[in-house]
């Protein structure tokens, strides 16, 4: 008996390269952003809210060229963020059926997060751009604005991560591509990001915007999490690519690889 021949349609096509590009963007984002933040912008630590405005202006002018290049790297890193977030959202979409609320929630929050990530260096760049030409207090306010956008505006990142975590933990396990521990780690991460909200109260100490707890705790954990999620996503893509290759390049997104479903259901069918 001859095998049924099915043409692989758009519902079952899978292009590993595009997914690897987007998932790998997380690693690129981390490298580019950290290069800008640490090496060129010299934020170790950055001038804090308790620094007198004149001293801040002098610091900005002293490292002017290096700072400006750092802002360029950071804004580019922020833009790359969109690729990476999209890759994760798409893979968690697989675990939701016809009402993908957590997927939509991720996408919405991701949009806000990318906007924030891109807007932050704009304020710092403007502070450097006019440093010494406007009142030092104006420069300081722009500087503060950048840090408030960077840290105080953390809630969209939290809602995005919670959407991701819940889509892993609450959707059916047999439809999941991500391991449960990643959902739990993501939830734990969001708790560790909340101290960033306290920058509105403090002008010095660990909870100021240049402090160990408000800045470096969420910052370090965030980029560590980005690298972990990128690695896991790349592994997921590799596993699916292997499956697709075994079956002649037709993608099978679900475990129920059964006989009598139409191609529109995304079920594996052998192509001859």
């Amino acid at each position: 008996m001859g095998s049924a021949s099915v043409v692989a349609g758009p519902e079952t096509r899978f292009t590993p390269r595009t997914h690897q590009f987007c998932a790998g963007a997380g690693i690129a984002l981390a490298v580019v952003y950290l290069l800008g933040f640490i090496v060129f912008a010299r934020f170790y630590p950055p001038p804090g809210p308790d620094m007198p405005p004149e001293e801040l202006v002098a610091w900005l002018l002293r490292y002017d060229d290096s700072l400006r290049f750092g802002y360029i790297l950071m804004i580019c890193g922020g833009a790359i963020f969109g690729f990476w977030g999209a890759s994760i959202a798409v893979w968690t979409r697989k675990s939701e059926a016809s009402l993908p609320v957590m997927y939509v929630s991720q996408v919405v929050a991701l949009g806000a997060a990318v906007a924030i990530f891109v807007a932050v260096p704009v304020f710092w760049a403007e502070a450097s751009f006019r440093a010494g030409q406007v009142a030092p207090e104006t420069t300081q306010m722009l500087w503060d604005l950048g840090w408030f956008m960077f840290l105080f505006a953390v809630p969209p990142f939290i809602t995005w991560a919670v959407s991701l975590a819940l889509s892993i933990l609450w959707n059916p396990a047999d439809q999941q591509v991500y391991p449960r521990w990643l959902g739990w780690v993501t939830l734990g991460e969001t708790v560790c990001w909340t101290p960033a909200l306290l920058v509105v109260y403090f002008y010095d100490g660990p909870f100021a915007y240049n402090g160990a707890v408000a800045l470096y705790l969420p910052f370090t954990l965030f980029f560590g999490w980005v690298l972990v999620v990128s690695g896991v996503t790349l592994r997921v893509i590799r596993d699916h690519e292997r499956t697709a290759c075994v079956h002649g390049g037709v993608y099978a997104p679900h475990r129920e690889l059964l006989d009598d479903r139409s191609p529109g259901d995304g079920v594996l069918q052998e192509v001859r």
């Binding site: 049924a4 707890v213 699916h240």
Partner: protein, 203 residues
């Protein structure tokens, strides 16, 4: 003819753990939380070394008796929760609700004590903006209090699970949530012991 592909390990996820009441992946959450608080403790120790005299003086003004009372209260809550988990793992709901009630009462008592303590400090002019010690004290105990609130929400959920499961017994999923809830309470307790040792005993 169609063939069935070997399901990838990634697709299987951790479905195997769902057949028991143990969810080893929950430890990833606990470890992440503990890492965050470990950094908080580290920051406190670092800052105490830099401002020793000020920290000792400020810590001596904290109410050690309330701190000890809160420690005992949370230990009692942990004990009640551990007993509840032990019973829940057998599947029945008998005797669970009184234990959950004790746990919740201890959590509420703890939060009540914190409110009393914070109010007293604020009345004495020792708010979070006064000095570095009080900044750390209020933010750390505030973060911990949020964890206690979440733990109370977990207890409320478990109470509801018991109410629903009266006739049929607890499902595997509900037993797993009991185990995870118990672990979370122990985490809250452990974090408080760390806070008590660093903040109250700093004097």
């Amino acid at each position: 003819m169609t063939t069935q592909a070997p399901a990838s390990a990634a697709l299987r996820g951790s479905a195997d753990s769902r057949s028991t009441s143990l969810d080893s992946s929950f430890w990833a959450f606990l470890l992440t939380e503990m890492s965050g608080f470990a950094l908080l403790y580290g920051v406190f120790v670092f800052e105490r070394r830099r401002h020793e005299a000020g920290f000792v003086e400020a810590a001596s003004r904290l109410d050690l008796g309330l701190g000890v009372a809160n420690t005992v209260i949370l230990l009692l809550a942990s004990l009640a929760m551990a007993l509840a988990v032990q019973r829940a793992q057998r599947g029945g709901v008998r005797g669970l609700r009184p234990l959950l009630l004790v746990t919740a009462a201890c959590g509420v008592a703890f939060l009540g004590n914190k409110v009393v303590e914070w109010s007293a400090l604020l009345r004495d002019g020792s708010g979070p903006q006064v000095d570095l010690f009080h900044q750390l004290y209020f933010t750390y105990t505030g973060l911990h209090a949020v964890h206690v609130l979440i733990a109370l929400a977990v207890v409320a959920y478990l109470w509801r699970a018991c109410t629903v499961a009266v006739f049929g017994g607890l499902s595997v999923r509900q037993r797993r949530i009991f185990v995870n809830g118990g672990l979370y309470w122990h985490l809250v307790d452990l974090l408080w012991i760390g806070l008590f040792a660093t903040l109250y005993c700093a004097g």
